[in-house]
Amino acid sequence: MWRYLVPLVVFIVLSLFLWKGLQLDPRDVPSPLVNKPAPQFDLPLLSDPAVHIKRDEMLGQVWILNVWASWCVSCRQEHPVLMRLARQNIVPIYGLNYKDEREAGLNWLNDFGNPYVASGFDANGRVGVDYGVYGVPESYVIDKQGVIRYKHTGPVSDEALMTTILPLVKELKG
């Protein structure tokens, strides 16, 4: 009896692991920064290089950091979603213009609309590296204490907003 049962059980267990594996996305790198303080930054604004934006300025509010660039095709995909979110005035969205050209970035915002309260201009991508950015667009939900609570890799969909991001924001706002 055992000699039939053991291989069957092993096979079933293995199948379960493989089935779970099929649902995992190898491109999705879990961020080690979740529940850690958002890294400091001090960047010139995209709109005005003379003015700087620092991470500490956002302390005390829940906010979303969206990493974008004019050369990024997927960013165009998520753009309408961000515009709608911005209009709802639930949570401020700050942009991190990643490895872009100032003029290209500004033109992009002019053409498609600007959902951001402000965008920091990260020309060489160093701030991006600090945040573990590897593929734009990426979005971070950051709480009032400046701790990263959630990272979304890839374009933000309405579904992601509804199921994960907005509920989290509401919870963090208290």
Binding site: P26, R27, V29, P30, S31, P32, L33, K99, G125, R126, V129, D130, Y131, G132, Y134, G135
Partner: protein
């Protein structure tokens, strides 16, 4: 002579070695260090390639930053830790050996040992079941008769 020439020509493709992405920039010793570390790190954008192999923008940026850090005096370990802090253990091709990754590192050996153990156990058990029993006198005679028939009659088995 012609065969020798053909053989030599067939060896030509060997010259086309796939090289890792060229990183020509300044001090060759530093480059080597950068490439050594880059080979240990995964390119997160190009699945399956290391930072040394990949030509993607991400890999180029990473190599640049690694070089900057090294020029600032960071050790290999410090550079790797810096990146692991931001990108997680996934960026390392060889995960560090700790409680979480112990299963990954030692699991296969453990399974191998278990497999060998089961095999050995089964063979041992089966050996005990098959006991050589001496033939009775009658059976011995029949066996010899058959053997003689085989060799004299030249029968096909």
């Amino acid at each position: 002579m012609k065969r020798l020439l053909i053989a030599a020509l067939c060896c030509l493709p060997l010259l086309g070695q796939a090289k890792e992405a060229e990183y020509a920039n300044g001090d060759p010793l530093m480059n080597q260090r950068v490439m050594e570390i880059s080979a240990e790190l995964r390119c997160l954008v190009c699945q399956g390639q290391s930072l040394a192999d990949s030509h993607s923008d991400f890999a180029i940026d990473m190599r640049n930053q690694i070089q900057e850090m090294m020029e600032a005096g960071k050790s290999n370990r410090e550079v790797i830790n810096f990146l692991v802090e931001r990108y997680g253990e996934t960026i390392r091709y060889r995960p560090s050996v700790n409680a979480t990754t112990a299963l990954l590192w030692f699991g296969p050996f453990a399974l191998l040992l278990i497999g060998i153990g089961i095999l050995y156990f089964n063979v041992l058990r089966r050996k005990k079941q098959i006991q050589d029993q001496p033939l009775s006198a009658e059976e011995q005679r029949r066996a010899e008769a058959m053997l003689q028939q085989d060799s004299s009659g030249d029968k096909q088995a």
